[in-house]
Amino acid sequence: MTRRRVGLFLTEEEKFDVIIVGAGPAGSACAYILAREGKSVLVIERGDTPGAKNVTGGRLYTYALELLDQGLHEEAALERKVIREQIMMLSGDRAITIDYHDPSFNEEGRPPMSYTILRGVFDEWLAGKAEEMGAMVACGIRVDELIERDGRIVGVVAGEDEMYADVVIAADGVNSFMAQRAGLIEDIKAETVAVGIKEVIELPAKTIEERFNLREGQGAARLILGCTEGIHGGGFLYTNKDSISLGCVFMPEEAGQKKKSVHEIFQDVKMHPSIYPLIEGGETIEYGAHLVSEAGFRGIPKKLFREGFLMVGDAAGFVINTGYSIRGIDLAIVSGIAAARAVIGAEGTAAAGPLYMEELKKIKLLPTMQAQDGFSDILETAWLYDKVPDLAADVFENLFTVTGEVPGSVKKDVMRLIRSNDLSAWQFIKLGFKGMRAL
């Protein structure tokens, strides 16, 4: 692989068809298609290697890779295919774990539904595939500015270098400086993002498989509610080949207001009596953090393009959080494909933007995000993050407690527990209505 670090002294005549800023999944997927279709493509990545600046929970839904090229998942740098979908609720020292296993998600003859991944590994692989198709990936270069001519974006500035292209594609992630430079987004509002933090904890593959009831190559994905001290957010745990990704996501706005350190809360989660045994004996090998957009469909910028400029992936706000599943990497890849199709199909730079919006609809990205927009309303509900797991644990405690005394009526006990958690049946009814209206 040829990765040029410096020395791209190009004149305006030697321009590329497309310059992509950022070699994450969106940028590399876009480069892959463009290069395959014969376009000259330069991908500029500020990290030393693709993925070096990226952090995920995380998992990848496989359909996106298949959309990029059939059979690609077979050679992709993936960790484990997810066969267990788990939801955990914590309340003090107590824990409830729901474990959903559905063999039809992973039937012979078709790609498994999703894989756990590590971005340092995956992104480098995908960028390598784009290079195989003929894209040039230049790492260790930070793009500083866009070049504008007569209202059109015509290139980028990186340090001393100027590079020109018919189209510049912003694939530079959630803190998209490119989209800001293009005037398409304002400063990020704190209430629209969450901060994710995680440790990668090394453990032997066999230990992981024993602890999570997995066979070789199989993995578990777990979301955890009730581990954020009431702050909007939750925890996650993904099993990788030889490690576990354990982390928490918080609304920073609320952590600041409540004056609670996100680092401290996460360290508490690690030591929880129902989490600790899963990672015991392991060794933390990395500590990462990243912002994630929480605004869903309504958070997508009003305009995703200008003449000579498109936004893809996190830069365009393409993330879906339903509370039980989180999607971003698949949407990044899909949006990269849509952008590539638009550039290929457009006659003239002015046509690429509107065509990109068409492609985003055709590839089902915008309709999918719109369909799940209502989840944002439900997830706004403050009592989901502490009172619900507390109540659930209280109910389970009630059900499983045997003392020799005459048990009370379960219905009455549940109503009592709802009240003792400062909740009312009415609140559940209202949330139910809200949910039905939203979804």
Binding site: R5, P252, K259, H263, E280, G281, T284, E286, H290
Partner: protein
């Protein structure tokens, strides 16, 4: 508190999980610090007047701290480049927030 408790499981010695401080965690990462050009700069005078100081709580690397005199101190060297401080700093005490220059900053091996 010890970072690692070296214990024994059967015959193999193994490292165990424990609470870790932010500096201990950051010590595991690979950083190439840009000594010439800090990518984040704060104005301590503005920070002094900021009542909320959310940065003390939201930075995953805990790089914003109050020193003995109650003055804000910040070290960009262990920055994970998440951008949380940037979106949370309402009183604009952060007068510069950019990504580190190419090749500098954190390099996640796993991510």
């Amino acid at each position: 508190m010890a970072v690692y408790q070296v214990g024994f499981q059967g015959d193999e010695s193994f490292m165990s999980i424990d609470r870790m401080s932010a500096p201990e965690l950051l010590g595991l990462n690979r950083f190439n610090v840009d000594e010439e050009e800090p990518h984040i700069i704060i104005d301590k005078e503005i920070c002094r007047r900021c009542a909320e100081k959310p940065c003390l709580y939201v930075c995953p690397a805990v790089l914003y701290k109050l020193d003995k005199n109650g003055e804000m101190s910040f070290d960009y060297a262990g920055c994970l480049e998440c951008g949380t401080c940037r979106v949370m700093c309402k009183n604009k005490g952060i007068i510069k927030w950019a990504y580190p220059r190419g090749t500098f900053g954190v390099s996640f091996r796993w991510g």
